[in-house]
């Protein structure tokens, strides 16, 4: 199975992606992460206004098989939450970089060490064995 890793995003070691859009960043989980989790059936996300600390858990994502923590790849204030995911989590599996986005953040400037697409592809490849 081939994993989609868009070239214009940055990636955390806990498999979140970060897209910079002007002054804000959008985050979600990667195709690798959704594939490893399987069908997502439940997600818990923070409320707008929550301040995220890089590397700390900000929510949880559940499949039939497992629970996974979500870790903040960047620090900052949550300015928008993808509330469509409350009723239907399918976009996380179907379109993890698009309709499956999780949060929009006004970044504080603090970040986890993030990888570019090439480094993240190698990181995924490494774990496939």
């Amino acid at each position: 199975m081939s994993i989609s890793i868009p070239g214009d995003l940055r990636y955390s070691t806990s498999d979140e992606w970060v897209r910079t859009e002007g002054e804000e960043v959008v985050i979600g989980i990667t195709d690798y992460a959704q594939d490893a989790l399987g069908d997502v059936v439940y997600i818990e996300l923070p409320a707008v206004g929550t301040v995220l600390i890089p590397g700390e858990s900000f929510g949880v994502i559940e499949s039939v098989k497992a629970s996974s923590d979500l870790y903040a790849p960047v620090g900052g204030e949550v300015v928008a939450v993808n509330s469509d995911l409350e009723a239907n989590q399918e976009p996380i599996n179907q379109d993890p970089y698009g309709a499956g986005w999780l949060l929009r953040i006004r970044p504080s400037g603090e970040e986890e060490p993030l990888m570019d697409a090439t480094a993240y592809a190698a990181y995924c490849e490494e774990r496939a064995h």
Partner: protein
């Protein structure tokens, strides 16, 4: 080195996701757990369960020996029938849960994959003094499960018989027949809460049998993920979770499998005392009142905050569409409507005891 079934290469070739389970490298999913789960509830799914142990017990005292090691009444299993049973320790803890099939002049005992070596040693140790012969046929035979409401009609097409023996096979019945030209034992048994069959046949024939069964029609290949969610909804016990060496049958609500009046057997004395006194803790089903998903091994606290038990299995139920769980709690809290807290990520989440099973099995009886 992880062990592999005769279908390992087939699973990998078909793109299954492989995981370690009880020392075995097995498919956890093919198309996705929910997809496979619903296929078995609504149509048919095929599972490779060759990792399970298959032991033959024969000889003049085969019945007497099994009667002595198992908790169920083996004398009541008529020829061509099978029954669920437990191997119990002298202290009442459970060595394993097993299926005993009464074949012509011998018994087939199917045990859990993770307990194969332990069970074999247990049987060897307890057969001293009995005129019996034990044979481990786990490697020589493959084992597949074809499960779901469409299983009967599909498998009937594969049976090389004009009399369609398997459609007459009763619940828990077992018969020797021919499937796609291959001699096979077929039993109306399973672990999904649906009608279905388990097939035993020569290991070398497994890849061809697998492909031909899938080609029968709308049959989904399934992995251990769906096997677990399918057994969870009808609350069928999984060793290491609902039952173990430190959980007795009464705690596991398996008192119906313990026949104290059948004569002596390993564990009987202790089990009789436990039954008389009543178990101090017991399994209960629960649903969450608060938000979250409970998982196996999560702690259970009283509403006052005291640690009182543990979740044995928990997950979002694909058929019922909500998170459910099974927990081992004090008996007083094991009846419907009782309240307790499950500790989910360091936070107490209120739970309410509900009736088991969550899903009523749809066996063809």
């Amino acid at each position: 080195m992880l062990k592999r079934t005769p279908l390992f290469a087939t699973h990998v070739g078909m793109g299954a996701r492989m995981v370690e389970f009880g020392g075995w490298e097995m498919p956890v999913q093919y198309s996705g757990i929910i997809n496979e789960h619903m296929a078995v509830r609504q149509g048919a799914g095929l599972f490779d369960i060759s990792h399970m142990g298959r032991f033959m017990v024969r000889g003049p005292q085969a019945e007497a020996f099994l009667q002595y090691v198992a908790s169920c009444n083996v004398a009541a299993i008529t020829l061509g029938q099978a029954n669920y049973g437990l191997l119990c320790q002298p202290d009442g803890g459970i060595v394993d849960d097993i299926f005993i099939y009464h074949l012509l002049d011998e018994y087939l005992v199917v045990v859990n994959a993770s307990n194969r070596d332990k069970d074999w040693a247990w049987l060897q140790q307890h057969c001293v003094g009995f005129d019996v012969e034990l044979e481990d046929r786990s490697e020589r035979w493959a084992m597949l499960a074809l499960q779901g409401p469409a299983a009967e009609q599909l498998l009937a097409q594969a049976e090389d018989s004009t009399t369609h023996d398997l459609t007459h096979l009763p619940f828990h019945g077992v018969a020797l027949t021919t499937v796609f030209g291959q001699t096979a034992l077929i039993a109306r048994t399973g672990y999904t809460g649906e009608d279905g069959f388990e097939l035993f046949f020569a290991a070398g024939a497994a890849p061809e049998m697998w492909q031909r069964l899938l080609a029968l029609g709308d049959v989904k290949p399934c992995g251990l993920g769906a096997r677990d969610s399918l057994r969870f909804e009808p609350c069928l016990a999984l060793y290491g979770h609902e039952i173990s060496a430190t959980i007795n049958p009464y705690e596991a609500r398996l008192g119906w499998v313990v026949k104290l009046d059948k004569g002596d057997f390993v564990g009987r004395e202790t089990l009789a005392a436990i039954k008389q006194a009543g178990p101090t803790r017991r399994l209960t089903g629960f649903e969450l009142v608060g938000k979250g998903v409970a998982r196996g091994d999560y702690a259970v606290h009283s509403v006052e905050g005291e640690p009182i038990g543990v979740v044995t299995t928990g997950m979002p139920s694909p058929t019922l569409g909500k998170p459910l769980g099974i927990a081992l709690v004090p008996t007083a809290l094991s009846s419907e409507g009782s309240a307790f807290d499950v500790i989910i990520r360091d936070r107490p989440v209120r739970a309410r005891a509900v009736k088991m099973p969550f899903y009523k099995p749809r066996y063809k009886k």
